[in-house]
């Protein structure tokens, strides 16, 4: 045989075999990363996968699994998981990564696989419970779902019928499905959405929103040449797993990593340049870098001229100067020339030459600069929103916006499929408890002020849902929350929807058990690279049973005990609020297929996947599956990649009808917007007043999409800020933080509390034994110099005094913290007064005398007997210290975000101090609330148009436009 011919034949045979196998949607070559330890079972064998049982070792016992995808619920990253469902017992044995998930790509952090410990937690809530004694007494009795639903629905119905819509509130911690509960509330006509965001990301998001109309960054780390993080993003930041893996891939390609972090975090250790900035000085350093780019001409003038709203800025702020780009460039130069490396060095404590070196690297990035700030400095400081604004200034200067290696706006990298029914309703009333006119520009609800607003403004909630949220423990000023929750005049009925016991649920009237990530439906999509994907969270046992041919009509039938999923819960509750449909509410959850009957989740998702996800029906058909079957099988779908710079897209002719372009270049059209399957929130922009809608901006004679901002461009100068009372803040600038060195009193230090250990999950770590074993304490980071001054060493007790009280914690002396700054991780210090989770909650005595509150620890955790033998092996006793209760509310007057950093005094603990002691005077809390309230500029005095809030700013559950009108006339003496 001719050897050449033979090899050619083999080549053809193997190519044909591969094509044949892959045409069936199967895997020809073994799993994706077989070369090393990781190995993903080929997807065609997910229905019957055989592994040896590790617990049976050394016996070789084979176990057969169904691998069912779902989405992690233990942070907002929404990484893909594969549940290993034992085919014999139909139990979930473990979770691993889902290689089909475009965001996480099969990789997970510790929190994903730990989901299995949440499912099997012996202290899990398995039955709906109703309070039997007084609130917080710890007495409960089981209650049926029907009774609970009828009671809650009855109260909501009465509130709606009696026009008390404001008394219904839903307060969310970990978000589930994009828009699901917002639509539910819209269907009810209730402006009752309340999120946790103002204690989380809203500071940074306000900064991004003001720049580009979209409020989240989507950095393309993978393709960047320079990555600049104002965060500890490689270990614990938002979307950290999907982003961290791409940061490392960027680094592997040769990208330089610059990290701003006061602490020597794990992220800082991976940096090429670590800048240990003094808390609150970040914007000064970023402006020094910006000044360097401007001064040396290393910025992308073409991009700036084309896409910044410099024309508006010049017209409004420098009317005497020529309205030319050259004149603007001179103004820009002068505006930032004071931000020298020396100035930034003095503010930050970072040597000027180090800042200069970082600036040089940024200057060399071209358009491949990816940047990210989520919480971190933006969540810690007064004016924190300017950190994101000054960070994005660097992208805007370089033109590193929505191009490969740059930073994209989230809405262009996010796909929210249009649901089967989209309530066109908007609440007719405005909820002043969540959107007070003192904070007209707050990005999100002023959630953490609720105890003070209900107390000082005669606020009452008749039905208050806390949903996978624990404000008593997570929010600042937790004792004020306890005062509110135990006051029946302020809270009529408190319903805690939670999978896990928590400090807030202890004070509820109903505790309704909700499912973990593998026990609920949600549809998710997040901006994690330049692409669009959807992830499907599903009850895996439901999907498994259906694969076996069973028909499952309710997720409750497959969850442990009487645990339920939320979507079915909300549908059922809505149906009971409007039992006969006369209120026009239940129609939004009525079946299309079976008019007059409730919609099922199968119909709901089946319709979405069939009609609202481009490409999915075709992809599914290639495998002989329906779109719903495809999603139940693979758990994720990538709708598209390489979205690119949407702002540069030409608006198609079909959308251009009777176009008018105003003096600022904004283009308006009479053509209706084309229908889009993607309903990702985008700011509504006003039309031209003559019936035309905003469609884009005219650039060199062509109408381009531009940005969803009032100017249609990147808003270097924010007319919104200027017109709503903050003209001095209208361009990216530096706000001296409330913990600036000059502000601190003698003996005070700055406490950083905005970081966490990457294995903690806010409230729900409480029943994840693996995670608890890894991390269960939060000592106070203390620089050796400060430790020597205070006279303590590692392990010694210290008392940390805040404005409203103090806590007692152990010291950890380390060079890894900036001198003059202390740091204490949140997500720690769980407590209970009686029965409750035993793995991670200390048992405490909760004492009150008037406004003086105290917590003292009776005992920590320890081993106990349960069905899970591991609980007898608990070797740790420490659970950390709950510091947040001692923090006053500190709302930023513009973004509304809580400014977490604290001015504290740290002293060696006294003889009476014991580990875990917490003491607070809530009268001082109220004083702090009033003190920060004085910083605000009330809409009644500063609104330019008589409304409460700029119409274009994003807002969940947007009320009707009339509700935006202020109830006060600013000229009236009674106006606030």
């Amino acid at each position: 045989m001719n050897p050449r011919r033979s090899l050619d034949d083999l080549n053809r045979r193997v190519s044909a075999a591969r094509a044949d196998v892959e045409s069936r949607g199967e895997t020809f070559y073994p799993g994706a990363s077989r070369v090393h330890l990781a190995a993903f079972p080929p997807k065609e064998r997910w229905s019957d996968w055989v592994e040896l049982d590790s617990k049976a070792w050394p016996e070789r016992v084979e176990r057969r699994y169904m691998l069912v995808p779902t989405t992690c619920f233990n942070c907002e990253s929404a990484c893909g998981l594969l549940a290993y469902v034992d085919r014999d017992t139909l139990e979930v044995r473990k979770f691993e990564g889902n290689p089909e998930h475009p965001g996480s790509r099969g990789r997970n952090c510790a929190k994903g696989p730990a989901t299995v410990t949440q499912l099997t937690d012996p202290d899990r809530i398995l039955t709906p419970l109703k309070r039997a004694g007084g609130r917080g007494e710890g007495k409960w009795e089981p209650v049926g779902w029907d009774e609970a639903l009828d009671d809650i629905a009855g109260r909501i119905r009465a509130a709606i019928d009696e026009d008390r819509h404001r008394e219904i509130m839903y307060h969310v911690g970990r978000p589930g499905e994009d828009g699901f509960t917002e639509r539910t509330l819209a269907a009810w006509g209730v402006d009752g959405h309340n999120s946790h965001t103002n204690i989380c990301s809203s500071g940074a998001r306000a900064g991004y929103h003001l720049w580009m109309g979209m409020d989240r960054p989507s950095p393309d780390h993978e393709n960047a040449d320079v990555i600049l993080l104002v965060s500890s993003h490689l270990e614990a930041g938002h979307y950290f797993n999907p982003h961290a893996q791409r940061v490392m891939e960027g680094k592997a390609r040769g990208a330089k990593l610059i990290v701003f972090d006061t602490r020597l975090s794990n992220t800082a250790t991976h940096a090429d340049h670590w800048l240990s900035t003094y808390p609150g000085s970040e914007a000064a350093v970023l402006l020094a870098i910006a000044n360097h780019l401007i001064r040396t001409g290393c910025y992308n003038a073409g991009f700036v001229e084309r896409w910044w709203n410099w024309g508006d800025y010049m017209a409004e702020n420098h009317p005497g100067k020529p309205a030319t780009f050259e004149a603007f460039q001179r103004v820009l130069h002068d505006l930032y020339e004071g931000y020298t490396f020396e100035f930034a060095g003095a503010e930050s404590g970072v040597p000027a030459e180090t800042i200069e070196a970082a600036a040089e690297i940024v200057a060399g990035a071209g358009t491949r600069l990816s940047t990210h700030n989520w919480r971190s400095a933006a969540a810690g400081n007064l004016g924190g929103w300017q950190v994101a604004r000054t960070l994005f200034l660097l992208n805007a200067l370089l033109g590193a916006v929505a191009v490969p290696g740059g930073t994209y706006p989230n809405a262009w990298n996010k796909f929210v499929p249009r649901p089967i029914r989209m309530p066109p309703r908007h609440p007719e009333s405005w909820n002043e408890l969540t959107w007070p006119a003192d904070y007209p520009l707050s990005l999100m609800e002023m959630s953490f002020l609720l105890p003070h607003l209900t107390a000082e403004r005669d606020g009452r909630l008749d039905v208050y849902f806390t949903r996978v949220y624990n404000p008593v423990w997570t929010n600042p000023d937790g004792f004020s929350w306890l005062e509110m929750l135990t006051d029946p005049e302020r809270i009529g009925l408190h319903v805690a929807l939670t999978p896990t016991w928590n400090e807030t649920a202890f004070f509820a009237d109903y505790v309704l058990p909700m499912g973990h990530s593998s026990e609920r439906h949600d549809l998710t999509s997040y901006e994690q690279y330049d692409g669009l994907w959807i992830g499907f969270r599903q009850p895996v046992l439901r999907a498994a049973r259906e694969r076996l041919g069973e028909k499952v009509s309710s997720t409750r039938d497959v969850t442990p005990g009487e645990v339920w999923e939320e979507n079915e819960f909300w549908i059922e509750l809505t149906w009971r609020i409007d039992p006969d449909g006369s209120r026009g509410i239940r129609r939004f959850f009525e079946s299309r297929e079976r008019p007059g009957e409730k919609m099922t989740v199968d119909e709901y998702y089946g319709w979405i996947f069939e009609n609202s996800v481009p490409g999915l029906p075709e992809r599914a058909a290639r495998e002989g599956l329906s779109p719903l079957e495809y999603m139940r099988r693979y758990g994720a779908f990538e709708v598209g990649t390489a979205v690119g710079p949407v702002y540069e897209q030409r608006v198609p002719e079909a959308e251009l009808e009777d176009v008018q372009v105003d003096a600022a270049g904004r283009a308006y059209t009479r053509a209706a917007p084309p229908p889009s399957p993607n309903v990702v929130p985008i700011p509504p922009l006003d039309g031209d007043g003559e019936g035309r809608r905003h469609v884009g901006v005219a650039v060199n004679g062509e109408v381009r999409r531009g940005f969803p901002t009032p100017s249609g461009r990147l808003e270097f100068w924010s007319r919104t800020l200027a017109e709503w009372g903050w003209p001095e803040m209208a361009v990216p600038g530096y706000v001296r933080s409330h913990v600036h060195r000059d502000t601190l009193e003698p003996g005070q230090m700055c406490l950083i509390s905005t970081f966490r250990l990457p294995v903690q999950i806010h409230t729900r770590s409480a029943n994840a034994k693996w995670l608890n074993e890894i991390a269960h304490t939060n000592p106070l980071w203390l620089n050796p110099g400060d430790a020597a001054r205070i006279g303590v060493g590692t392990g010694d007790l210290v008392r940390v005094e805040t404005q409203i009280g103090h806590f007692v914690v152990k010291a950890w002396v380390t060079e890894g913290i900036h001198p003059g700054v202390v740091a204490c991780s949140h997500h720690m210090g769980r407590w209970k007064t009686g029965d409750g989770p035993r793995q991670t909650m200390a048992t405490v005595s909760l004492d009150r005398e008037g406004t003086d509150w105290g917590i003292s620890r009776k005992n920590g955790t320890g081993p106990f007997r349960s069905d899970d033998p591991d609980t007898a092996r608990i070797w740790w006793t420490d659970v950390g210290v709950h510091q947040n209760m001692t923090f006053p509310v500190q709302p930023d007057p513009i973004s509304g975000a809580h400014c977490w950093h604290q001015a504290v005094r740290v002293t060696k603990a006294g003889p009476g101090d014991r580990y875990g002691d917490i003491s607070v005077d809530t009268a001082r809390s109220r004083e702090a609330f009033r003190q920060w309230l004085k910083l605000t500029r009330h809409a009644a005095r500063h609104s330019p148009d008589g409304t409460r809030r700029p119409w274009w700013l994003l807002r969940p559950v947007r009320p009707v436009r009339d509700a935006y009108r202020l109830p006060w006339n600013s000229s009236e003496p009674s106006a606030p």
């Binding site: 193997v14 073994p30 990363s33 290689p99 790509r105």
Partner: protein, 315 residues
């Protein structure tokens, strides 16, 4: 080129998918994973760095060279860990300039998959200059990182006792020979050869260095499998102690240095002879010469065995 990717995948841990790949290639039945463990995982490590690195271990400068090569192509260097983005392994390579990290870039499967990918990129490239760069990169990959070590590596599968692996090695050798014939190689030796010193003389560098370099193919010119050491024990009448190869070798030298060194010298001579015709002529000649040099040193050491044993750190 798909043939190379297919052959590369077959040196990974056996999975059910391998059955149809082997069938397409006309190879014997894919063996049980335990056979793979005995033949490949614990003896014939499919990593270039083991054969081209001066330490004879996975990683180090030899793997860094490949990682740097990948970086220069604008693809992942393999240091960030594996995953579904492991395009060079899956065949779903996104193209140059896009990251595609592979868990261990010097694994034979990854190298052969990259070869396949480079071939496709070159064919798909519309810019003639970039296509020429791709062609150049392909030559470099084959010369520096594949045929520089596959000669001795594939030779080690002869008479390994697994029909599948013997046939696989023979087929890959044949395919590589065809590739070599079609590839215009440079007139200089691969970098690994140019920088690797010869086998350490224990009289000068001590016993530890001697044992370490004896187990580093690029230093000794020889591959010493665990099976070879068992044979050494049987043929030289020495007790083969259980442990890592360095420990076993040290034990042999402690028991009877003369006999052990004589056997090793013979093994090196035999190995030198086996290298003839294995790969491109300059490469085959280099391996044969390196093994022959080692044989000479080992023979000399056997003659003066007393001085050697004192130099070797006896476990």
């Amino acid at each position: 080129m798909e043939l190379f990717r297919a052959l590369g995948s077959l040196i990974e841990v056996p999975a059910p998918e391998h059955r149809r790949i082997a069938e397409a290639l006309g190879l014997p039945s894919v063996p049980d994973p335990s056979v793979h463990g005995a033949v490949v995982a614990s003896q014939r490590y499919p990593y270039a760095s083991v054969y081209l690195g001066a330490e004879g271990m996975m990683g180090g400068e030899a793997r860094d060279r490949i990682a740097g090569f990948r970086r220069a192509l604008g693809i992942g260097d393999g240091q960030a860990g594996g995953g579904p983005g492991d395009a060079a392994v899956t065949g779903d390579d996104p193209g140059p300039g896009r990251s595609a990290g592979v868990a261990e870039s010097d694994h034979l499967a990854a190298l052969l998959a990259l070869l396949c990918a480079l071939d496709r990129w070159q064919r798909d490239e519309s810019d003639p200059a970039r296509a020429a760069l791709m062609a150049e990169a392909r030559v470099t990959l084959v010369w520096e990182h594949i045929v520089s070590w596959t000669g001795p590596y594939l030779a080690s599968f002869e008479r390994c006792g697994s029909p599948f692996h013997e046939a696989w090695a023979a087929l890959l050798s044949e395919a590589l020979a065809r590739l070599e014939a079609e590839t215009p190689f440079p007139d200089y030796l691969p970098a690994a050869f140019r920088t690797a010193p010869a086998l350490a003389d224990p009289r000068d560098e001590g016993g530890a260095a001697f044992l370490a370099t004896l187990l580093a193919p690029v230093r000794s010119g020889v591959i010493l499998l665990r099976d070879d050491l068992v044979r050494l024990g049987e043929e030289a009448g020495l007790a083969c102690r259980a442990g890592e190869r360095r420990y076993v070798l040290g034990s042999f030298l402690a028991q009877d240095p003369g006999a052990a060194l004589q056997w090793l010298a013979g093994h090196a001579r035999e190995w030198s002879g086996r290298m003839v015709g294995r790969g491109p002529a300059p490469v085959a000649r280099w391996w044969a010469d390196r093994a022959a040099e080692s044989a000479v040193l080992l023979s000399r050491l056997a003659d003066g065995a007393g001085t050697v044993v004192s130099a070797v750190s006896v476990p």
